[in-house]
């Protein structure tokens, strides 16, 4: 794996989606739908093939040489001592995994979009945005310079904004897009401040340079804690973690493929990637790590409870996404980076699957999203249901499905590595989340596909066309067997029984000279114990869900209704976060703005900002008055100025 | 260095003083008897026939400009002639190029009709 290979391959994989985006943006409107589709999906297919080659490069590289950086070009160079920003890329196991997830799942979702967006007139715009998103995401994961990473980070937010607001005639979509973007920007600001602190302390933004200089931060010191907390806040905004999570459910206003690609599989997991990538810093900031772990597990519980109470099919899946990402964040917060990354990968598969299957349902019911009006879809949507079921099993962590391996592997580390004096507390919470997950996952499946049809529309539902079924089926197979294959493989090479292969593959990234070998390695006994308890929790949840909702007329709020009345109310209203933010942030700001307009503006602004603006304008008019158009005036200005200059040089500065 | 300019300053002062002095002396000592004939523009003693502010044919300017261009050419030849021996053949070729360029200019203005009077 030479530097030039990496440069060529990364250049290719970046250029392909960018070219697709530009092509569709510039000339898409005069091309036929077929050509637009071909450009949109073809560019991602090509990128996926390149990603496969890149993965092969990493796998084939000898141990100790699994990571290679390439310098594409120097972006900025202010000489010695000045800031230098290179457009550098790193190909290592971590970025290879991300590349496979982004382009692989991305490819299937693009193919699916061809069917889903069949009747939409803005198809060229759609594919242009989608390709732009893939490009931005690739920039984010390949970047070897923090500034370039931030550019990718911001571009991702931009394309997400464009895609959530894709149907811009809908006011709700525009509002949701704006909300998502503003929240993202809050995270961007934190990230930029972190970058600023890093460059002030270390003097470089190059990521290998930062990681090499990580020991220069006092371990557990204030600076590193602040930097890592800021990085974490950036990650929280992107990954929809408490308290920056409220945008994700609203983002479901976008087309369903967008939800599958951006708000399930890739963008929202970028926060997990960021923390994993910056682990040399996080390893030195235990306080920040503990904060990350607690926020992750807290978000997971909260989102799980909300998911149980929602009745919109996409929102249920959105909250489940939030909950699962909470688990990943928890994992990277306790230092179980490869476990977190493995869950990221499997989650991308089964969550994209669930969204796309849900998209089939919505498509078949002509944009109906309320699960109370579904039920009994299994007769007409037999294949979709099978796929959906595969995703549900994986999500709930039923043994031998992909989610089982990743989730149990992740939770196992919580038993020993949790923060604080009682590390196992968070593990127990995690088992509770398993129960919750089983409950909401099977609740969704049962109320949508089982029981009696709740509306007449269900009878008229038609199975989705092949172009929408095949990608879903591929993902269904993956979510059923991916974990199993890797698990058996791990057994064969005699490793930790759950995620050994994956962890071994990623270990070069997470074992750096700076941080030393990670202390995260469970004994087989602990792992088995943790796995069994966790699995029992998942099965308990699934079983309960089957008992409650597998009936002719299931009541989606069956569980929550039995609780004291306050709780279901709270959960249904998403713990009133929107209202709280409204009361705490939006209203005071609006009130402040009003007050400002009433009091400050007439009194101070008119003599301040407004005056500046008026003064500029007045000055402009004044200058224009001197622009008489008469040569004699112009000549006299010149004489006057020349005279003043001569006098000034002669008299004023004669020292 | 500045003192090098002293003669110029003196010269300037003398010029201004002389000009102003002559004017002043004339206005002090000269008699003042204005008449209509004296206010007429002086045209070599001939009575003017019309206003001096009439338009001239633009051809005058063109001819004058062309004259200056070729005048400058001949001025340029003089210093060259003093060192042509030092420049050897190169100098002759150089001046040939220069004159050729001017010749082309002449052909151009000729073809454009700038030398035609009407």
């Amino acid at each position: 794996m030479t530097t030039s290979t990496v440069a060529v391959l990364s250049g290719l994989i970046l250029l392909l989606p960018l070219a697709g985006a530009l092509l569709n943006a510039l000339v898409g409107w005069r091309l036929s739908r077929r050509v637009v589709n071909a450009i949109g999906t073809g560019s991602i297919l090509a990128a996926f093939l390149v990603a496969c080659v890149m993965l092969a490069q990493v796998v084939g590289a000898p141990d100790g040489a699994k990571s290679a950086s390439a310098h594409l070009w120097q972006w900025l160079d202010l000489g010695t001592g000045g800031l230098r920003v290179g457009v550098d890329v790193t190909l290592d196991p971590l970025s290879a995994v991300m590349l496979m997830v982004i382009t692989g799942v991305g490819l299937l979702i693009h193919v699916y979009s061809v069917g889903y967006m069949e009747h939409d007139r803005g198809i060229a715009r759609f594919f242009s945005y989608m390709n732009l998103f893939i490009f931005s995401m690739l920039v984010l994961v390949l970047a070897a310079d923090l500034l370039i990473l931030i550019i990718g980070w911001a571009l991702v937010a931009l394309s997400s904004y464009l895609l959530i607001g894709f149907w811009y005639e809908r006011p709700s979509a525009v509002v949701a897009a704006r909300k998502a973007f503003i929240t993202q920007v809050a995270g961007d600001v934190a990230l930029v401040i972190a970058a600023f602190l890093i460059v002030v302390h270390i003097g470089t933004l190059s990521m290998p340079g930062i990681f090499a200089a990580a020991p220069s931060f006092a371990s557990g010191g204030l600076l590193i804690t602040v930097v890592c907390s800021l990085l974490a806040i950036g990650a929280f905004a992107k990954s929809a973690q408490f308290p920056l999570h409220t945008w994700l459910p609203d983002a479901m206003e976008g087309p369903t493929p967008v939800s599958a690609l951006i708000h399930a599989a890739t963008m929202v997991t970028a926060g997990v990637y960021l923390i994993a990538r910056f682990h040399p810093l996080f390893d030195r900031a235990p306080v920040a790590q503990g904060m990350v772990a607690c926020v992750g597990i807290g978000t997971a519980v909260m989102a799980g409870v909300i998911a149980l109470s929602q009745v919109d099919i996409k929102r249920v899946i959105a909250y489940s996404t939030m909950s699962q990402i909470g688990l990943m964040i928890f994992a990277v917060g306790i230092g179980a980076y490869s476990a977190g990354m493995f869950h990221l990968a499997t989650h991308a598969v089964f969550k994209a699957l669930l969204f796309m299957a849900a998209g089939n349902v919505i498509h078949a019911l002509h944009d109906e999203q309320d699960i109370r009006l579904m039920g009994g879809l299994s007769t007409n949507l037999r294949r979709t249901e099978l796929c959906f079921l595969s995703g549900t099993f994986a999500l709930a962590g039923i043994p031998l499905f992909a989610g089982f391996f990743s989730k149990e592997g992740l939770l196992g580390f919580g038993l020993t590595n949790g923060p604080g004096a009682f590390p196992w507390v968070l593990y127990l919470v995690g088992v509770g989340i398993n129960v919750l997950t089983g409950l909401y996952a099977f609740r969704l499946w049962a109320t949508v596909f089982r029981g009696e049809p709740q509306t007449a529309r269900v009878y008229a539902a038609r199975e989705a066309p092949r172009v929408m079924l095949v990608p879903v089926a591929i993902l269904a197979l993956l979510s059923a067997f991916l974990g199993l294959i890797l698990g058996v493989w791990s057994l064969v090479i005699h490793d930790n029984f759950l995620i050994g292969v994956f962890a071994r593959f990623l270990s070069p990234v997470f074992t750096t000279p700076a941080s030393g070998p990670l202390a995260v390695d469970l004994s087989t006994g602990t792992a088995i114990l943790a796995g069994i308890v966790g699995t029992l929790g998942s099965l308990l949840g699934a079983g309960l869900a089957a008992r409650i909702w597998l009936q002719r007329n299931p009541d989606p709020s069956a569980v929550t209704a039995r609780l004291p009345r306050a709780l279901p109310q709270l959960a249904y209203n998403k713990f009133y976060f929107d209202e709280i933010y409204d009361a705490l942030l939006v209203r005071p700001l609006v009130a402040l703005a009003r007050a400002a307009r009433r009091v400050v503006e007439p009194r101070f602004m008119n003599s301040g900002v407004q005056t500046v603006s008026d003064a500029c304008s007045e000055l402009g008019a004044w200058v224009r008055d001197y622009q008489t158009g008469l040569i004699r005036d112009y000549a006299s200005y010149m004489i006057a100025a020349a005279g003043v200059f001569v006098v000034a040089t002669l008299v004023l500065v004669s020292r | 260095m500045l003192s090098d300019f002293a003669p110029i300053l003196v010269f300037l002062a003398v010029c201004v003083a002389f000009g102003a002095g002559v004017q002043a002396l004339a206005s002090w000592f000269g008699p003042r008897r204005p008449s209509a004939a004296k206010d007429l523009p002086y045209e070599c003693g001939i009575v003017p026939v019309e206003s001096a502010r009439r338009r001239f044919s633009v051809s005058f300017y063109v001819t004058a400009m062309l004259f200056i261009i070729f005048d400058v050419e001949s001025i340029f030849l003089l210093p060259w002639a003093t060192i042509v021996r030092q420049l050897k053949v190169f100098g002759v070729v150089e001046m040939g190029v220069f004159i050729a360029a001017l010749l082309i200019g002449l052909i151009y203005v000729w073809a454009k009709g700038a030398l035609r009077w009407d």
Binding site: W75, C616, I631, A635, F645, A648 | L2, F5
Partner: protein, 502 residues
């Protein structure tokens, strides 16, 4: 070593190096050939003259590239009258590329205006030759001659639209005020010569250094007057007054040409004379205050006056005045970073400004230019690519990333801060904030849907060459913002290569 050296009798005496002037000689040759061709070409066929002139420009550009590698060690040629260095060649390259781009949009525009006069192309090449001579001028006399050569050509070109009174007025204003400015320039030169006894820049610098720590008042007066003459050419306030009137009156293709190339060439002379010849601290302390004032005045006057304009050509004229103010920061600050910052700025300004004026030229119909704000309204819906390109140019002129203009401003301001001239940078940043208003207003107009009952402007169709110019300039604006070091390295090497000693 020269080609002519092969023939022993023709060997030029030492001190004369024709290769040092190769690009200028090629362009001057093209100028003469075009004059002759004009005589034998029918009016309708004169579009072909544009092709010939582009070929001449390309030849000169090739020679410039060759010279760039040849001039690794800078030297002066023609007895010190001319500097053969990468600094001048960098400016040459900008001028030649700009000239070629202007020539590509010209024939279509002249046809629409019915101006089938072949002198146009010859005059453009003549002006470009003057500009290149100015960029490499190593002596006060060459500076004056070069300025006259380019000015006379531009006076004629400004009045090229013979039937249009505005064009005539522009030419007359430019001629009279230009002559006036030349007077200042010559007077300044005379005083400098009188004080130092030299016209050659390197010898003047040496004379000042050997002056023994005293400064003669007449030398300072000469420097101030010389600055006035050059400030007129870069249209810096308060010598800018001709700019909006002439830019508006002249045919737009000519405005495109002179708004960029004149400024670039005059800035080259300004940097060479002021930053490098008069860089002696004793002298610098005294002229700095003038340039400082002119820089701030240009930034303020240009940006503020542009706020109240309703003609796009005038807005761009004032914006050019303001941009000149930003580049002057690089003259006030003497550090190398300031010089290469200015060079980068000149390159980025050339690309974006040619692009913006090219939009006006290319969209012009038979009756009028794309000049009034009403004619801009809704452009994006009928000519989406043109509007997008225009938006890009405006963003670059306003200094937004990731365009060339952002880094240009960044380098210049950073150089000012690096040299502890924070107030200068703050003036720059403050006035660029003002400039955003009028740049974005033009952008917004293009993307505003016209009222249904509003008579819409009849935009021309983009020709192949016109579209090509827009595509090239748009690509250049982006490339210089994304692959910054590509041009930056050349600019740094140009700064390093400037001739300091005869």
């Amino acid at each position: 070593m020269t080609v002519l050296g092969v023939l022993p009798v023709l060997a030029p005496p030492p001190g004369i190096d024709i290769l040092g002037l190769l690009p200028e000689v090629i362009l001057a040759g093209g100028f003469i050939v075009l004059m002759m061709l004009d005589l034998v070409t029918a009016p309708a066929q004169r579009g072909w003259l544009a092709v010939v002139s582009v070929v001449a420009v390309a030849g000169a550009f090739g020679a410039t590239v060759w010279c760039w590698f040849d001039a690794a060690t800078p030297r002066t040629v023609y007895f010190g009258a001319f500097a053969y260095d990468r600094f001048g060649l960098f400016i040459n390259a900008i001028i030649l590329v700009s000239t070629a781009l202007v020539l590509m949009i010209t024939p279509q525009y002249l046809n629409r205006r019915g101006l089938h006069y072949g002198e146009y192309y010859a005059l453009i090449l003549g002006a470009a030759t003057g500009m290149m001579l100015l960029a490499g001028a190593g002596s006060l006399m060459v500076i004056f001659l070069a300025i006259e050569l380019l000015s006379i050509a531009l006076y004629i070109l400004s009045g090229f639209n013979r039937t249009e009174p505005r064009s005539q007025e522009a030419a007359m204003k430019y001629l009279l005020l230009g002559g006036f400015a030349s007077g200042f320039l010559l007077f300044g030169m005379a005083l400098i010569y009188g004080e130092t006894g030299h016209t050659q820049l390197t010898l003047i610098a040496a004379a000042i250094t050997n002056g023994g720590g005293t400064v003669d008042p007449l030398l300072m007066a000469g420097i101030a007057l010389l600055f006035v003459g050059l400030a007129f050419k870069i249209s810096a306030a308060p010598f800018h007054t001709w700019t909006p009137d002439v830019y508006q009156g002249a045919p737009t293709s000519v405005t495109t040409f002179m708004s960029v190339t004149t400024k670039v060439a005059a800035f080259a002379a300004l940097i060479r004379v002021f930053s490098y010849t008069f860089g002696e601290p004793l002298i610098y302390d005294r002229w700095k205050i003038i340039v400082y004032f002119v820089a701030i005045a240009s930034m303020v006057v240009g940006n503020v006056a542009a706020l109240r304009q309703t003609s796009l050509k005038r807005v761009l004229g004032y914006s050019g005045i303001a941009q000149g103010g930003y580049i002057l920061i690089g003259v006030v600050v003497l550090t190398p970073a300031a010089t290469w910052g200015s060079l980068y700025y000149l390159a980025s300004y050339a690309v974006a400004n040619i692009g913006a004026f090219a939009v006006i030229t290319v969209m012009a119909n038979r009756g009028e230019d794309l000049d009034s704000y009403a004619s801009l309204r809704g452009l994006a819906f009928r000519r989406p690519y043109v509007a997008a390109a225009m938006g890009l140019f405006l963003l670059s002129l306003g200094g937004f990333p990731p365009t060339a203009g952002f880094f240009a401003k960044f380098f210049v301001f950073a150089a000012a801060i690096g040299a502890h001239e924070l107030p200068l940078a703050l003036w720059g940043i403050g006035t660029s904030a003002v400039s955003v208003f009028y740049y974005l207003r033009v952008g917004l107009l293009m993307y505003t849907r016209p009222q249904p009952d509003e008579p819409s402007y009849n935009w021309s169709r983009t020709s192949l060459s016109g579209g090509g110019v827009l595509a090239l300039t748009a690509a250049g604006t982006l490339v210089m913002g994304i692959f910054v070091t590509l041009v930056l390295n050349i600019a740094v090497s140009a700064q390093n290569g400037i001739v300091l000693h005869g």
